[in-house]
């Protein structure tokens, strides 16, 4: 797990991360590294804390214990100007897109450019329309309000917003959920392109194994608050880990027991 691509310090280094909500322990000593320019996919059952993990790294949730380092800088508990500076490195696609419904679509996409980087509105709009085209949406969609979009369209706008500021680190929370298979593949290609052309490091969450195989350099499986297996995507079919095998083949029988009965 602590293997490092080409000897550079990891872009993200997480050690011993603990997060609980009241008595419910969600993350229980989680370790994870993302190297520079690496694409890591986190898989794991619904409700295991994948979204919580991303929110802890972004400082939206405060972990009880553990360390998160971005480019070697500790970010847990960072506030004010220092935090703003670190946040500028990130782009995030939220699971439910989280578009600003008081703004038209193009302004959603251009938000980081206008507010964060102080770009001129006309220029930012042009830029936003390019980004919308990259996720397969026409310029006319830019004038709509987010409430007028379908779920899949919203997801793609969220994606365009996440990559608009060309961040160094991009988080994708289920980027292809709710998209048709063809559009799903377009998005996969887009993520691969972000990593290759922008040199971005990405941490993605997905339940879609086809997508994981396509975008991941490395896959990590989250179970019971820990990463129980992590390895190159090529090894995922012979991981010798029963949990991973059960998950990637989507079998109901195996070591992972879903709580479907109140017993």
């Amino acid at each position: 797990m602590s293997e490092k691509a080409n000897g550079a310090p990891p872009k993200i280094q997480i050690r011993g991360l603990h997060k609980s909500f009241g008595p419910k322990v969600v993350l229980d000593g989680l370790d994870l590294d993302v190297a520079v320019g690496e694409s890591v996919v986190v898989i794991g059952g619904s409700g295991t804390g994948k979204s919580v993990l991303l929110k802890c790294i972004l400082g939206l949730l405060r972990p009880e214990a553990g360390s998160i380092k971005i480019d070697g800088e500790e970010v847990v508990g960072l506030r004010g100007g220092d935090r703003d500076r670190v946040m500028r490195k990130f782009g995030m696609l939220f699971q439910n897109a989280a578009l600003f419904d008081s703004l038209p679509v193009w302004e959603n996409v251009a938000f980081g450019l206008i507010q964060g980087e102080g770009m001129d509105r006309d220029e930012a709009k042009k830029n936003a329309i390019e980004k919308l085209a990259a996720v397969g949406l026409g310029a006319e969609v830019g004038e709509l309000s987010p409430a007028e979009l379908s779920g899949g369209m919203r997801k793609r706008v969220g994606l365009a917003r996440a990559i608009a500021i060309t961040p160094e680190i991009i988080f994708f929370d289920e980027p292809t959920t709710g998209l048709d298979p063809i559009m799903g593949d377009v998005i996969n290609d887009l993520i691969v392109k972000c990593v290759r052309e922008l040199g971005a490091s990405t941490l993605s969450i997905t339940h879609d194994m086809a997508s994981a195989r396509k975008i991941a350099h490395r896959v990590a499986m989250l179970y019971h608050g820990k990463i129980i297996w992590a390895g190159p995507v090529a090894q995922i079919d012979n991981s010798a880990n029963d949990y991973v095998d059960q998950f990637i083949h989507g079998r109901a029988e195996g070591p992972i027991q879903m709580q479907v009965r109140a017993d």
Binding site: L58, L60, D84, M92, A98, F100, S102, F111, Q115
Partner: protein, 257 residues
């Protein structure tokens, strides 16, 4: 001491809430005076709070002025003191009824809408999204609303004062048979700068309280539609109560010596 326990617990909860609210207010106010300011957003809030509240505040003011003239007439006629009506109308409107009634109406209209909007943004993770786009939610959401509330309410109340006095004038002239010139002269001669200024100071404070409550309850709402509903109710109720409490203390500050 089983009776003291619940009292102590309630007090602790109260102090904790007061502390959180003070931190929130201090944070919001500090963003009001630190650049950059979002003038576009401030302008939009001012239009929302001021311009769109004009009809409801105007109606409240005119009927209040009218009923005030009518009531004081029926009362004062017993002492043959009808000539005091212009004075009663103008002083009650500028000092008390203008700011308080406008404040309560705006609390219902604007405070609720603010809590609902910010609350929805909270539960749909839009506030988190703001944060990840390197935009401080206090600067982007709270500060423009506070600034707009503090600056717009005095203007709104000033207009309400004029409309209220006009309401009293209309009833006095057309129903009670006053002489228009005498009525206006009495009004203008009697009213003092302090009356109007104290009302406008109240308005600024109420504007702050309304927007603060809207933002605070919205910002801290949790748990979906139900949570947003609760935030909305809490924002209106707490703003209304605070308005009535602060009204007393500001009055005492200005007029009790």
């Amino acid at each position: 001491m089983p009776i003291l326990q619940p009292i102590g617990r309630t007090l602790l909860i109260f102090f904790a809430a007061a502390g959180r609210l003070s931190m929130f207010a201090a944070n919001g106010l500090s963003h009001c005076v630190r650049p950059p300011l979002y003038f576009r957003l401030i302008a939009r809030q001012m239009i929302d709070i001021g311009y769109y509240s004009l009809p409801v505040v105007g109606l409240t003011a005119i009927f209040t002025g009218m009923v005030l003239a009518l009531q004081s007439y029926t009362g004062f006629a017993r002492f043959a003191a009808e000539s005091a009506i212009p004075n009663v109308v103008v002083i009650s409107i500028t000092r008390e009824l203008g700011p308080v009634l406008a404040g309560l109406m705006v609390a219902g209209r604007v405070g609720a809408a603010m809590a609902a909007e910010i609350g929805t943004m909270r539960v749909t993770e839009q506030i988190d999204a703001l944060d990840t786009l390197a935009t401080n939610p206090f600067k982007y959401l709270v500060a423009p609303r506070l600034i707009a509330g503090i600056t717009t309410l005095p203007i709104l109340v000033f207009i309400a004062d004029i409309i209220g006095v006009f309401g009293g004038y209309v009833v006095s002239i057309y129903k009670l048979g006053f002489n228009p010139t005498t009525y206006l002269k009495n009004t203008v001669d009697f009213v003092q700068t302090e009356d109007v200024v104290s009302g406008l100071v109240k308005a600024a404070v109420f504007g702050f309280l309304i927007t603060l409550m809207g933002c605070y309850h919205g910002y801290n709402s949790k748990g979906g539609a139900q949570g947003v509903g609760a935030a909305t109710t809490n924002a209106v109720v707490s703003a209304s109560i605070l308005i009535l409490c602060c009204n007393y203390f500001i009055t005492e500050m200005f007029f009790a010596r």
